[in-house]
Symmetry: C2
């Protein structure tokens, strides 16, 4: 049994006439005669009573035709839905974003994404790098915005923009009097995020330490860190997109002598079939942040 046969059956039932049904189906009349007869053979029931001039559906046909209509309607629905899904720049993209990026980047790119890709529904998911990669590999996410390289042949990625780090100092800190801070100078009293944040490792590496300061601080967000710095507990190192939040907290920001920073990139499964959507999202974000590396050093976003 075949969907085509079911359409033929519907056509004959509707027209009550093989010739006109064949015309409606765009095939020849013998084709319809043969296929309907074959269908009757497969089903084991007569579907039509062929009289001299009339073709009338049998009661068996009437019992079946509701299901036939339903099957054909579902098949049409499949085609219709597939048609609406055909646009690679439409649909939903589940996008993971690391916590040190999400609160500062997403407000910047939401409107551009909506404008440039109106049919793409970007659904953000905030978590740490390792969790995002797990979800990405587990098909729970389609892409992720990370600040680290990704490895493994199952994933691919593309850099979007460079984000410098800035020294964040309490106003009364001695280093706040300098126009520029050397990374190593922060090592003495730097505060870093909790385990699992890529920014923690990057900040420690930047100032030449391999271990965090002893202590119980387990800051889970840059926001917490900034409050600690503002209260004079120490210094820290923040990504440039968080500059606005830092200044709002009354913190002094200084560029770093070696201009260290991180590269934000978008990652996806190598076999993900809607790569075009990923690349479009990445391009919109990159365009929004273009020239950011230069401007950020001067505090402009």
């Amino acid at each position: 049994m075949n969907l085509r046969d079911l359409r033929y059956l519907l056509a004959v039932a509707e027209h009550g006439h093989f010739g006109r049904a064949a015309e409606a189906c765009g095939v020849s009349q013998p084709t319809l005669s043969v296929q309907i007869r074959k269908l009757e053979g497969q089903l084991g029931v007569a579907l039509f009573e062929r009289g001299g001039k009339t073709v009338a559906p049998t009661s068996a046909c009437e019992r079946l035709i509701g299901h036939v209509r339903a099957a054909v309607a579902e098949a049409d629905a499949i085609l219709a839905v597939a048609g609406s899904l055909r646009d690679p720049l439409a649909g939903r993209i589940r996008l993971g974003v690391i916590p040190t990026l999400a609160p500062y980047l997403l407000p910047l790119v939401f409107a551009p994404l909506r404008d440039a890709l109106p049919h793409l529904e970007v659904e953000p998911w905030e978590d740490q790098t390792a969790a995002l990669l797990d979800r990405l590999r587990g098909h729970e996410l389609d892409a992720a915005l990370l600040a680290t390289d990704v490895d493994g042949p199952d994933l691919a990625s593309q850099p979007l923009f460079a984000e410098p780090f800035l020294a964040a100092l309490p106003p009364e800190h001695p280093l706040a009097r300098k126009a520029m801070v050397a990374e190593a100078e922060l090592a003495r009293d730097i505060l870093v995020l909790a385990d699992g944040h890529c920014l923690r490792d990057q900040a420690l590496a930047a100032c030449g330490r391999s271990e965090a300061l002893g202590g119980t601080l387990r800051a889970v967000s840059i926001s917490t860190l900034l409050n600690m710095v503002a209260a004079g507990y120490g210094t820290t190192l923040i990504p440039a997109l968080a500059a606005g939040a830092a200044e709002d907290a009354g913190i002094v920001l200084r560029p770093l002598a070696a201009r260290v920073g991180r590269t934000v990139r978008i990652a996806w499964r190598a076999h993900f079939p809607r790569r075009a959507a990923i690349e479009a999202v990445g391009e919109v974000i990159a365009a929004r942040l273009r020239g950011f590396a230069q401007g950020a050093a001067k505090g402009a976003v």
Copy 2:
């Protein structure tokens, strides 16, 4: 797009593995790979993301799969319903019966029909011959029990049993003293049914008249006729199956000298596809009435 392809799609989605899905479908793995890929091409969307070891449905696939399941389920329903309709001795037969036969025959054959053809639902419809033939030709009935020959190449029929006529007389009627009545003797004061009843014409023909007695009587049933006879308004001629009703009304019945009668037959459209059901019904009725022609003359049914 093909129902087979949809089943393949469901199998791959369910197993997440082309090889095992192919085994479940009873085809080779390359067949599935090719057909799924072809389906993706037809739909214009990727359905599965093939990773190194994993096959995961895309979001498009998840959007479509409900319709796919529905289409396949409807197709299965078609097969299941067709299977249940396959028995030619099952289903519904709309059976027309003429009014001079229905009230006397149906009570006799209902139980035998139910016993012999338990899956066949015989739905009686009572009307005069011409109306029954119209409905039969118009596919509103599947068969009809008539007492006349049918003509035309579009209809076929088969005799079931012979039903003699009996003279029905008021007890005080002069003819009631005779053991047997010659048909012509009834002509003087015979009462007949209204226009359209085949029995009217047959009764008139039997006693050699071509016109009914003048008058306003338009009896629409044998029952009315019997009441008229019982009241002494005249004589009539009834089919043997109505003998019981006549005797209940206190009417004297006499066999006819020339043994005229009618033949009850079943008629159907020549192209009606469930001829087996018709013939089975006819055979049950004929069997029930077998030997009736002889017995009826003696008043036994």
